[in-house]
Symmetry: C2
C-alpha cells in the first residue's frame, strides 16, 4: 500500500488536463500547447495522436467524428467522468524531478576545446531564444489582462506561471550578457 509513487506519463497528464478544460481535437491541443504553454511545455503530433488513442482505449476520453467545420474532417475528444477522476488521482503522484541537460553549459565546460567564436555564437543564440520566450510571455500577459470572465483561481495560477517565466528569463538574459562579456575578455 505504501511504497513507490507510480509516475504518470506527463504527456497523458497534459492531454487529459487540457481535455478537462474543454473538448478539443488533436490539432487544437497542439496549437494550444504552442500558443499558451510554449515556454514550459511541448508536444508533437506524433505523440499526441497515439496518446489520445491510448487514453481512449482506457475509456478516459471519448472521440466523436464531429460535424465537419467547413467540410473538413475533425475528431473531437472529450474527457469522461472516469477521466476526470483519473486526472485528480494522478495529482497524488508527485512530478518526476527534471533531469538536467543543458548543452550550452556542457559546451562551456569543454570550452577549451571549442574553436574561437563558437561559444559567443552559442550564447547569442541562447539569448535570442530567451528574448523570444519573453516576447511570448508578454503576449500571454496582454491576453490575460483582456480576459474578464476568467475564474479568479485560474488567473492566480497564470500569474504564478508567468512570474516563473519572466523572472527566469530575465535572470538568464543578465547571465547571457555577463557571459558574453567574460568570453570576450578571454579572447
Amino acid at each position: 500500500m505504501a511504497g513507490r509513487a507510480a509516475r504518470v506519463n506527463p504527456t497523458e497528464f497534459a492531454l487529459l488536463g487540457l481535455l478537462a478544460e474543454r473538448p478539443r481535437t488533436g490539432y487544437d491541443i497542439k496549437k494550444e500547447v504552442e500558443e499558451r504553454l510554449a515556454h514550459f511545455w511541448s508536444e508533437s503530433y506524433g505523440h499526441i495522436y497515439p496518446m489520445l488513442a491510448r487514453l481512449r482505449k482506457r475509456r478516459l476520453i471519448t472521440m466523436r467524428a464531429a460535424g465537419r467545420r467547413d467540410g473538413r474532417q475533425r475528431n473531437v475528444y472529450t474527457i469522461t467522468a472516469s477521466g476526470r477522476r483519473t486526472l485528480v488521482a494522478w495529482f497524488a503522484n508527485p512530478p518526476a524531478p527534471p533531469r538536467p541537460r543543458n548543452e550550452l553549459l556542457l559546451r562551456l565546460m569543454l570550452g577549451r576545446f571549442a574553436p574561437p567564436g563558437v561559444l559567443l555564437r552559442d550564447v547569442a543564440a541562447y539569448r535570442a531564444g530567451i528574448a523570444g520566450g519573453l516576447g511570448q510571455l508578454r503576449g500571454v500577459e496582454r491576453r490575460l489582462a483582456g480576459e474578464t470572465d476568467a475564474e479568479v483561481a485560474d488567473l492566480a495560477y497564470w500569474r504564478m506561471i508567468l512570474s516563473f517565466g519572466i523572472e527566469l528569463f530575465e535572470t538568464l538574459e543578465r547571465w547571457c550578457d555577463a557571459t558574453d562579456r567574460s568570453l570576450r575578455e578571454l579572447g
Copy 2:
C-alpha cells in the same frame, strides 16, 4: 554544402569531451557527471556503456583493459587524435534548442483540478531540489577555490557555469517562496 546543421548526439559529445580532458573508465565518467556536472547534466550507465562502444567502433576512442586496481576489472577509454578532431568539428553544430518540459508549471496550469495541498507539496519538493542543487554548487565553488594549478581559461569557464546555476537557483528559490504564499492565499 550549405543546409541543415547536423545535430550531434549530446551524450556522445559529453563523453568525448570528458575523455578529451583525460582517460577514464565508464564508472569514472558516471561519477564525474554526478559530482561535477550534476546541476546541468546527467547520464546513466545504461547509456554510457553502449555509447562508449559506439565511439570505439568509430575509432574516436580506444579501450585498454587496464591493470586492475585492487584486483578489480577496469576498462580505461582514451580519446584518439581522430576523436579530438571530431570533438572540435562537433562544436560547429549549434546545440539543439531545449524543449521545455516543466511538470510543476503544467500542474499549476491545471491547478483548479488539483486536490487541496498537492500544489503546496509539489512546490515544496521543487524548492528542496533547488536547495540541494545550491548546496552542490557551493561544494564545487569551494573545490574550485582550492585549485591552484588549474588553467586560467578553465577557471573562467567554471565561473560562468557556476554563476548560471547560482543565479538561476536563487531566482527559483524566490519564486518558490512567492508561489507558496500565493497558494496559501488561494486557500
